[in-house]
């Protein structure tokens, strides 16, 4: 099943994330990832929620969430939307692997955000295909930690 994504704009109040996650929990619907942060205007919180749902489930999520009093706007993203994810990877390196890793990072237009004697933290941003491709390559190194933010999305063009 393909990943589906929804945009949810809620009032920026304590507990709203709980209300949304409860809505999924009650129906036994899994959330693959969720990104949330201050929206625009700033009294809102903007979330992108991703899951592997069929069309019925996607529709249920939308119409049920729409009913929540704190939800101001909800829609599903089309496939053409702009999708971005940020990943931080901490890798144990020696002088040889450090060079190799930096070369790969250059190709993927990532950056180094922390340099240690035996480790690097690298950052990469991109769509799902790019992130997955990059992670596939760095798995050949000695990975200590990976932190993925989950996908944030936005519709192309003038519309929301």
């Amino acid at each position: 099943m393909e990943a589906k994504r929804i945009l949810l704009v809620m009032k920026n109040k304590p507990g709203v994330l709980n209300k949304i996650s409860g809505l999924f929990q009650k129906r036994g619907i899994n959330i693959e990832n969720i990104t949330a942060g201050e929206g625009y205007p700033e009294e809102t919180v903007r979330m992108t929620i991703t899951g592997f749902w069929d069309d019925y489930t996607l529709n249920q999520v939308i119409v049920q969430a729409e009913k929540l009093f704190d939800v101001e706007f909800i829609k599903s993203f089309s496939k053409e939307s702009v999708l971005r994810e940020l990943v931080l990877v901490k890798v144990q390196v020696d002088s040889k692997s450090r060079q190799e890793l930096l070369q790969i990072l250059d190709i993927y237009r990532g950056s180094v955000v922390d340099v240690g004697l035996e480790s690097l933290i690298i950052e990469i941003t991109g769509d799902i295909g790019k992130i997955d491709g990059f992670l596939k390559l760095v798995k050949n190194f000695n990975i200590l930690e990976i932190a993925r933010t989950g996908v944030s999305a936005m519709t192309r063009g003038l519309g929301v």
């Binding site: 409860g22 529709n59 249920q60 119409v63 729409e66 009913k67 009093f69």
Partner: protein, 554 residues
Amino acid sequence: MKEITGAKIVLETLKYLGVKDIFGYPGGAVIPIYDALYDFEGLQHYMARHEQGAVHSADGYARTKKVPGVCLATSGPGATNLVTGIMTAHMDSIPLLVITGQVSTSFLGKDSFQESDIIGITSPITKNNYLVRDIFQLPDILKEAYILSKHGRPGPVLVDIPKNIQEQKIDYDKFKNLLEKDIKKINKFKSLYEENEILEFQKLFNSSKKPVLVVGGGVLNGDCVKEVREFVERTKIPVVSTLMGLGIFNKDDEKYFGMIGMHGLVEANRAVDECDLLICVGMRFDDRIVGDKSKFSPNSKKIHIEIDRAEINKNILVDLPIVGDAKDILKQTLELDLKDDFETWSESFKREDVTDEKDLNQISTLNMLNEILDERYIVVTDVGQHQMFTAQHLDIKKPFQFCTSGGAGTMGYGLPAAIGAKVANPDKKVIAILGDGGFQMNQQELILLAQYNLPVKVLIFNNGALGMVKQWQELFNNKRYSSVILDINPDFVKLANAHYVEGEKIENIHNLKRLKDILEDDNPYLVDIQMSYEHNVYPIIPAGKSFEHTIGGE
């Protein structure tokens, strides 16, 4: 400078909203509100003996008075005792304003004495809930909560108020300004239907040969009884009801074939099964109605008139959803040119008259009640066999005359809900029909009948069993009656007496005539009607099965 406390703000705002009665139970975290109530004029408080009693009373009040019910409880266990009642109201779309006390804000999140996260606990069973952190927001929140509870599809809304907010004082004039300020318009449950959907309705209707109308609780909530009745009169189509829609039509209505669903009448279910067009108004295709999804009304096109978009295609896929206010939509359909030649189709259903019962049982008792009850009565039931018997056999004459826990099926609901119904309708005669099991779940509320001089008549259909569970065990679990036989029950009459309520036992069918005098009398009274546990509710369609699996009787 004149000041006002948060506690007093709560009461003044309720009064401003038109609230007359509240049901509650005091506790540490609502002492300031109770202190303010002590000499407050314009609000009558009814003290339940358990918070669950208070919330069910508020629910019975709301269901029979068509205004939001209000209840009040303390934090922690007080608040959690409300949960069953909140869920009951949520399942049946009943407007409630639930106010809970909370520990002071500085104690929040520290597992303080009597602290519970009632916001988290009730999120899935409320339309919205609020934790008040700023006293200046208190009037707005209460106003918004009250209006939201009855807006669109009604439901319960909870406001949790920390004790220090109740104690805090603000300038009275500032409060007055806040009180009279309009709140932001609530913009949920919009009408989304378009003109072409009304035209599509006409097309489907006029091309159908065997249409059936289903009315649900939404018809009562949407205040469109007149319109559905006019629709049936005009088009002469058969009409059936869900449990929540009982009272919209009655036995005198020629085209009405009764309740549908698991314990629906055979003819009513057959109409749904055989029809070619099913028009559903204000109902939600509950599994107790639908059974086997793939075989529910298999040959019909389905039209769903509903205010809540989220109900469309949730349980059953429909051909034509019309989302909006049912009253508006029905008014528009009444302007259409619609067929009315369904006589042959309607006549293919013959309502079965209930045969005369020779024994004292649920049906003979309800037959007797049919002889007595008129429009002055409100009937409240608990949950179980007696509830389904009542739904099947009692001739409910008017909308809002019947009050029962449908979607949640909450045992213990009946007695406190009847108390709420009586408080809401002092001019009506209120009867609570209860099973012996459900009565014992909230029997402590009996004392309110004496305390507030509420002439509610409590009829216990005493069959010495948790009848509905027993019936399922009998039919589907090889008669393995696990923990359902109540071979020791309290002496209910003595129990009533201990609560300063008179009562008596009825042990044979001849004494049923006593009910006439008892019900006419103007005092609270309990009648313990002895019945055999052997009677089951028929027809029954086993859970998840279709009409063809109807079990008609023994």
